[in-house]
C-alpha cells in the first residue's frame, strides 16, 4: 500500500499547481492578479492549434499567438506585450512561430473573472540567444503607417481608430451624444 501511495504522489505531483516564478525577472505592473512566470514553451498560432487552419508563418502577427508550455502542455494566451500602450503580443511572438523559446512575464490568474493562463509577455529568449524585450509593437506600427507620423501616442494617430471615432464618436453612440457628454463633463 505504501508503494501505491508513493506512486500516486509521484504521478500527481506534476499536476499540482506549478510555480513558474523561479528565476523570473518580470517587472510588476501592480495588477491585482499578476504572478511572475518564466517558462519554456513552443510558440504556436492558436487558431491553427485548435482548428488545424495553419498558415506557414502563423499569420505574421495578425493572428493571436499561443505558448504551449513545455512543463505541462498548457496553452497560455499572451494578451499583452511589455509596452504600456494598448498593444498585444502577437507581433512580438510571430517571428518565433514553431520555435521553442523561454519567456518571462506575468500570468494573470483571477478565478472570479475566469482569467486563467493569460499572460503579459515581457521578454523572449530563443535557443542560444540573449533575451529580447517584447516591445517591438509601436516600432512595427510606425513602419506600417508612415502617413500617420506625428506627435503623440500611436493610438491618437492611427487612421482606422480616427476614422471610427470621427464617424461614431468617442462613446460610439454618435457625434451628438458625444457633444452632450463633453459639454456636461469637461
Amino acid at each position: 500500500m505504501k508503494h501505491l501511495i508513493a506512486c500516486l504522489a509521484l504521478i500527481a505531483s506534476p499536476l499540482a499547481a506549478q510555480d513558474f516564478s523561479e528565476g523570473s525577472k518580470a517587472k510588476s505592473w501592480n495588477l491585482y492578479a499578476e504572478v511572475p512566470a518564466k517558462f519554456e514553451a513552443e510558440v504556436v498560432d492558436v487558431l491553427c492549434t485548435l482548428t488545424g487552419d495553419c498558415p506557414e508563418d502563423c499569420g505574421a502577427g495578425k493572428r493571436q499567438m499561443g505558448l504551449v508550455r513545455s512543463a505541462d502542455d498548457v496553452l497560455i494566451l499572451p494578451m499583452k506585450n511589455s509596452q504600456p500602450a494598448f498593444t498585444g503580443a502577437a507581433v512580438e511572438l510571430a517571428p518565433f512561430c514553431g520555435q521553442t523559446v523561454t519567456v518571462d512575464g506575468l500570468l494573470i490568474d483571477d478565478p472570479d473573472l475566469g482569467a486563467k493562463n493569460v499572460y503579459l509577455l515581457q521578454t523572449i529568449q530563443a535557443a542560444d540567444a540573449d533575451p529580447i524585450k517584447a516591445n517591438k509593437w509601436t516600432k512595427n506600427w510606425a513602419k506600417e503607417h508612415p502617413e500617420a507620423k506625428g506627435k503623440g501616442p500611436w493610438f491618437r494617430r492611427d487612421p482606422r481608430i480616427k476614422e471610427i471615432i470621427a464617424r461614431e464618436g468617442y462613446l460610439g453612440l454618435g457625434l451628438e451624444e458625444d457633444q452632450t457628454y463633453i459639454d456636461e463633463n469637461f
Binding site: Q64, K116, Y170
Partner: protein, 154 residues
C-alpha cells in the same frame, strides 16, 4: 489485490494524461449573445472594475486595444468570456478590421467553441445580428480611462 492496484493505477494514468491534439481540436457549435470586449482591460483590472471596462464608457479604449492586437473577447450575458479567433472569413484576430469594427457592440454569434486549459475560444462562423452598442454605461462610469476623450479645454 495486486491486479486491482494495477487497474487503479492504469485508470489514474489515463485520467492524468494530457489532452492530445485531437481532443483539443474538438469543437462544439454554439450560438451566443454578448458584447465584444477588450479582454486585457477586463481581465487585468488595469483600467478599473469589470463593469467599467465595457460598453460606451470604454468604447475608445476598446478600439485602441483591438487595433493594438490585444485579443478581442465576447462577454456573454452569463459572464463567460470567449476569446474570438476568427469572424467569418477574417482570421485576423490581432488588429483585424472586422473585430475593430465590432468594438463594444453587442452581437449574436454562431460558431464553434473550443475549450482548452480554462479558456474558451470562439471561431465565429456568422454574426447573426449586430446590435451596435447597447451597454450605455458612460453616465455611470464616465469615459474609461479618463484620457480616452481629449479635454477640449486644453
Amino acid at each position: 489485490m495486486r491486479s486491482s492496484i494495477s487497474a487503479a493505477l492504469a485508470a489514474l494514468l489515463m485520467l492524468l494524461a494530457p489532452p492530445t491534439g485531437a481532443q483539443a481540436a474538438e469543437g462544439t457549435r454554439i450560438q451566443v449573445t454578448g458584447e465584444i470586449i477588450d479582454t486585457w482591460c477586463y481581465y487585468s483590472g488595469v483600467m478599473g472594475s469589470p463593469d467599467a471596462v465595457v460598453g460606451s464608457a470604454h468604447h475608445t479604449c476598446a478600439l485602441w486595444c483591438s487595433a493594438g492586437g490585444i485579443p478581442v473577447g465576447l462577454l456573454a450575458e452569463d459572464g463567460t468570456v470567449y476569446m474570438v479567433l476568427k469572424v467569418g472569413d477574417d482570421t485576423e484576430s490581432a488588429s483585424g478590421d472586422t473585430m475593430l469594427s465590432l468594438a463594444a457592440h453587442t452581437v449574436e454569434a454562431d460558431g464553434m467553441l473550443y475549450q482548452r486549459d480554462g479558456l474558451n475560444y470562439l471561431v465565429v462562423a456568422n454574426v447573426v445580428s449586430d446590435m451596435d452598442i447597447t451597454n450605455q454605461n458612460h453616465n455611470d462610469y464616465g469615459n474609461v480611462p479618463p484620457f480616452s476623450i481629449p479635454d477640449p479645454n486644453k
